[in-house]
Amino acid sequence: MFNSLTLTIESIGSVVVRRIESAGRLGTFLAQIVSRLWGHKFPLGETIKQLHFVGARTVPLILISGLFTGMVIALQFYDTLIRFGSVELLGAAVAMSLIRELGPVMAALMVIARVGSATCAEIGIMRNEQQFDALDCMAIDSYHYIMLPRLIAALIAVPLLTALFDVFGIGGGYIVGVLIHGVSEGAYLTGMADTIVWNDVLMGLIKSTLFGGVILWISLAKGFYLHIEQKNAGAEGVSQATTNAVVLSAVLMLFVDYIVSSLMI
């Protein structure tokens, strides 16, 4: 009885210790990457490659999901606003919710699904195949050569993807509100313009930049520390690490979302 109690306490303790260690690793990992901004030649070629992967190739997904998100919220708001007789607020409502909240969050979720998971798996496989050992042995700094370009690419690409998401979402809202339900075009567009201020757009941009950073940070770290954090270093380890990365970056993203919202509203 006493024995099992000590065992339980011990195992709880070790879980706590592991969590704290893991958080510490994430922190030092980020600090290492950021420190490579100074005193090194900026890895432009790799960053462009990553902008292509993170940004350009995510655009179709962003456009489609943006369009449908805009259509759905326009439909929902239309149904709500019509009961209060204020459908002229539709444009404002759609744009406001997209620009401030839904755009950044939905675009980030798309980036997690497409880029975060793939990146974590790729980095994990690189770890498994000793590619990081090889980089070390060639005296090539992995933080500088592998991590930094990906993080920078995300910081640039995710806000742009979010803006595209917003614009297509507004377009989707226009289709549902104006073309299908006959809200006047003027009301939809000027309603938007009258309500949205620069602060709203800025909030969206700040959020999406941070989300981009968080997603790549977590995904890179979970892949990079695969050999430390996973019991099974093989294919199972990669899949487990990817799952962890997706879940953690999604949760952390929403946390950051709340913090930024509460600071800026």
């Binding site: 902008l51 655009v59 742009l160 595209l164 757009v201």
Partner: protein, 151 residues
């Protein structure tokens, strides 16, 4: 060739993204590099409850400016609002500024009723005649009180 192709696609993406950001901030949020010339007037209200920074200023239902600042005059305990008008809107000294509500539950805005004198207000001047917010609660309680009185 392959490299150029990659740069081209990335360039295209950046341009499209920037265009989207520009659309959101310029067309929708109304931020513009060149600001339309404007001038400021101040107005004091005994109560500006519900009026917010950024609220519209209308003349005859047309938007002519925005409320850019609201502070408390700490001596007179009055609300001092700063109005920013487009330059082509000229107002005379006996202009009346009143805080109104759009619809029953809508936003507060400022309604300007132009005066008739030849003396024009210039930047920094004060609109003397103002009408403060009327809250529904006050209206309702006034009505209730009056009806109580009668009975």
């Amino acid at each position: 060739m392959k490299r150029m192709n990659l740069n081209f696609i990335v360039g295209l993406f950046i341009i499209a993204g920037m265009a989207a950001v520009a659309y959101l901030s310029v067309t929708i949020a109304g931020v513009s590099g060149y600001s339309k010339d404007n001038y400021q007037l101040v107005a004091k209200f005994s109560n500006s409850s519900g009026l917010k920074k950024g609220a519209f200023i209308e003349i005859a239902g047309v938007k002519v400016g925005k409320v850019t600042n609201i502070v408390l005059d700490k001596e007179a305990f009055e609300s001092v609002a700063t109005f920013t008008f487009d330059d082509d809107v000229a107002l005379s000294e006996d202009t009346i500024a009143s805080i109104r509500t759009a619809g029953i539950l809508g936003d507060k805005f400022v309604k300007i009723s132009p005066g008739a004198t030849d003396e024009m207000l210039s930047s920094g001047d004060e609109i003397i005649e103002t009408e403060s917010s009327i809250s529904i609660e006050e209206l309702v309680s006034k009505y209730m009180f009056n009806s109580d009185d009668k009975s």
